[in-house]
């Protein structure tokens, strides 16, 4: 089953079977009410499980420009931990979550967490930081579930055999290809002759542009007319906007996020860029949902929302998403974005796997047992169904829709959301993304 069908018709036993058989998994999927207050149903025997709480660490960007994403991940992880503890913990063990600013010290943060005796760590947001951490994680043997850090080649090519390192959020290829597919869906392959890119000047932006180029060339045989890389955290992108205006490409692709996304759209509006192109697609544009103003979103701008958009499936049919949305709005006064789910899902992946391991083993699992359990582990969140594949990469639906303004929410929303299943936008196991796209 996917997140698309409604669980309303399920009875308790069906629900428990579908959600992996435990109250905890049900609670994290956002369906705790199905238990009807009988909250020890399906829980593990707690005989050989230690009493002390689980110590967990999260590193994320809490400060400065990238905090737009990082703080959402922190809220997400906190919310998941809150739900776990409200439902009696993981096999009776509550989680204590320490959060630290990731900065440029990803490796040091992980080492410090391990030195402090953490049972599990989450984060980071940075892909370079994540890359530096993976071998260290395997050496130290304490599981890390990355919230983000989505560079594709990481698990495909660099570390195909990692044991303890996992990543929940969809990788680059899935979102950059979803952008290419979305562009073709909206305009039609015949209508796309030229494209341009404005992407942040670092590995992630370079990667996204390269994959989008591969995809759009395969799908629409389009030609690149401009590709610019403004500095991350830039205070001016007018040069790139001017270049797009003079080339008038059919599609503009941008993987700018956070303050860069708002800066780009604001300057694009001020220079009428949206009148000089048919479509702007950006896989991370919805990450700044809370920071846009109404005027920023005029014109054909399609934003991605990675593996979670709060209104998908529509909240009037899917109560877990609606409940989560209300809870986050009340608790933090923000619209949850995909980065919220990065934090929520990373914690959920680990906690549901640990819960399952306890039920199977009848005791608390060792790190290697838990790591084995996480492979091919499937679980639900309010975003729908997720799998952690054998390559240690999480796979979920990718979301794309037209950015629009909602007066009611006083924030950006997505309209006409397209949902792309993982197999549509990521290669089958054992194939690298670049080979796969070139074979289209």
């Amino acid at each position: 089953m996917t997140g698309g069908s409604s669980p309303d018709g399920l009875n308790r036993r069906d629900a428990l079977r579908v959600f992996g058989g435990s109250a905890l998994a049900l609670a994290l999927a956002g369906c705790a009410e199905l238990l009807g207050g009988d909250d020890d149903v399906g829980d593990a025997e707690e005989g050989d499980v230690p009493d002390e709480p689980i110590e967990a660490g999260l590193q994320t960007f809490r400060e400065g420009a990238p905090a737009v994403l990082g703080v959402q991940a922190e809220y997400g992880a906190e919310t998941a931990v809150g739900r776990i503890n409200d439902n009696g913990g993981v096999a009776g063990r509550e989680i204590e979550l320490d959060v630290v600013e990731e900065g440029d010290e990803h490796l040091e943060n992980y080492q410090q967490f391990v030195d402090e005796g953490k049972d599990v760590t989450f984060g980071p947001i940075s892909s370079g930081g994540h890359e530096a951490m993976v071998p260290e994680i395997d050496d130290r043997g304490v599981i890390n579930v990355a919230t983000d850090g989505t560079v594709t080649t990481l698990y495909e090519e660099d570390f195909p055999d990692t044991t303890y390192s996992f990543r929940f959020q969809n990788h680059d290829v899935m979102e950059a290809l979803a952008a290419a597919v979305e562009a073709v869906e909206i305009l039609g392959a015949d209508e796309i002759d030229t494209y341009a890119g404005i992407n942040p000047n670092y590995a992630f932006g370079q990667d996204e542009m390269e994959i989008f180029s591969l995809g759009i060339q395969q799908l629409a045989d389009a030609e690149e007319v401009y590709s610019g890389f403004p500095d991350l955290g830039a205070d001016d992108m007018s040069t790139h906007v001017t270049n797009v205006n003079s080339e008038e490409p059919d599609v503009v692709f941008t993987s700018c996020w956070g303050g860069d996304a708002t800066l780009l759209l604001q300057q694009a509006q001020a220079s009428d860029m949206l009148e000089n192109t048919e479509l702007v697609v950006g896989p991370v544009l919805y990450g700044s949902a809370n920071d846009y103003e109404e005027g920023d979103l005029e014109g054909p701008i399609h934003g991605g929302s990675r593996n979670f958009y709060w209104d998908q499936p529509a909240t009037d049919q899917w109560t877990p998403a609606a409940d989560l949305f209300d809870e986050v709005r009340e608790e933090y006064d923000v619209i949850p974005t995909a980065h919220f789910m990065s934090g929520y899902g990373a914690v959920t992946a680990w906690a549901t796997a640990a819960d399952k391991a306890v039920r199977i083993l009848g005791r608390w699992p060792e790190q290697d047992e838990l790591a084995a359990m996480l492979e091919e582990h499937g679980f639900f969140t309010p975003a729908g169904y997720h799998t952690m594949a054998t390559d240690h990469q999480g796979y979920s639906n990718a979301h794309f829709g037209e950015l629009a303004w909602s007066d009611e929410l006083d924030a950006a929303v997505l309209e006409d959301v397209n949902v792309y299943a993982p197999e549509e936008v990521s290669p089958p196991p054992g194939t690298t993304s670049r080979d796969w796209i070139e074979g289209w």
């Binding site: 905090a67 703080v71 403004p230 001016d236």
Partner: protein, 312 residues
């Protein structure tokens, strides 16, 4: 194509004036006090955060612009807000100078660097305490763009950029007037050229120095405020890159030279924009200002307007 070269040049001039507003304060402080103020970028950031609060308050008093007249009123109010935010930097700068900087004028240069670096770190946390850790946005950019300038230019160009250019010219004109025509300005210049002589004719160097530091802080804050009312957010550590670029600007122009800072800023602005837009070398965007600085320093070590340690 001709038009796009014009637009790229305008973009460069706009960015150059942003840099000039930040660098002018740095060059004044260096020219008179001989201190390279590493905390200058954080004073700039402080201005950006302050204008968020000031404009947030003022925006409650006026309506969002709907037509030309209200747009102009909106623009005037926002600019007043930027000035008010920068004005807060006057006492802040004065207090920093009197408390921390004054005791170390006689110490070696490295201690001055270390001290201003310490102030940089402390100021980051002051802002963290005041405004939290996440970026904030004044949300005034689109309103400012409603002020019509298209008629004047003959083609569509963001009004905010035009405003920044005009304000930048005004800042330069005011500084030239201040140092050339006012008594206080001349006293400052006299102190910069010869401290002992200035003291001998009865000038209080302490007060002059405090005044200059406060002025430098004011212009840093004003630069930050002008950036923050535009499309950029205010965020912690936003001061690091502008600080480093201001070094480039004042070195190219000649340390302590106002004219030099203006020319240096415009050169850096235009050349970095041309690198991407006209020459088509986007991979050099980041390095361009530093290459320019290295080349100019190697060819003309004193910078374009080689003043050393005095305002001109």
């Amino acid at each position: 194509m001709v038009e796009s070269v014009v637009v790229h040049t305008l973009n460069g001039i706009y960015y150059g004036f942003v840099l000039f507003m930040i660098a002018s304060g740095l060059t004044i402080i260096f020219g008179v006090l001989g201190i390279l103020n590493l905390a200058h970028g954080e004073l700039y950031a402080l201005g950006a955060f302050l204008v968020f609060s000031v404009v947030g308050f003022l925006a409650g008093l006026i309506a969002a612009p709907t037509d030309t007249v209200t747009a102009v009123i909106f623009g005037v109010v926002v600019l007043a807000g930027a000035l008010a935010a920068a004005a807060v930097l006057l006492p802040v700068g004065a207090a920093l100078e009197a408390t921390f900087v004054r005791p170390i004028y006689e110490r070696e240069e490295v201690y001055q660097l270390l001290l201003t670096y310490a102030l940089l770190l402390i100021l980051i946390d002051v802002m963290k305490f005041g405004w939290g850790t996440s970026p904030v946005s004044t949300g005034t950019y689109s309103g400012l763009n409603r002020i019509p300038t298209t008629e004047v230019l003959g083609f569509s160009y963001p009004s905010y950029n035009v405003i920044v250019i005009l304000v930048g010219i005004a800042v330069f004109a005011w500084l030239v007037w201040f140092f050339d025509r006012t008594k206080t300005g001349r006293i400052v210049r006299a102190t910069a050229i010869n401290r002992e002589m200035a003291t001998a004719i009865g000038v209080s160097t302490d007060r002059t120095f405090t005044l200059v530091f406060a002025m430098g802080a004011f212009f840093a804050g004003f630069g930050g405020a002008m950036v923050s009312i535009g499309p950029s957010d205010a965020f912690l550590e936003m001061g690091l890159d502008p600080l480093v670029l201001s070094f480039v600007v004042i070195v190219i122009g000649g340390l302590g030279s106002l004219k030099g800072a203006l020319v240096g800023a415009l050169l850096v602005g235009v050349i970095s924009r041309w690198t991407v837009g006209v020459f088509g070398l986007p991979q050099l965007e980041l390095a361009a200002p530093f290459l320019l600085m290295a080349i100019i320093l190697l060819a003309k070590p004193e910078g374009l307007y080689g003043t050393w340690g005095e305002i001109e």
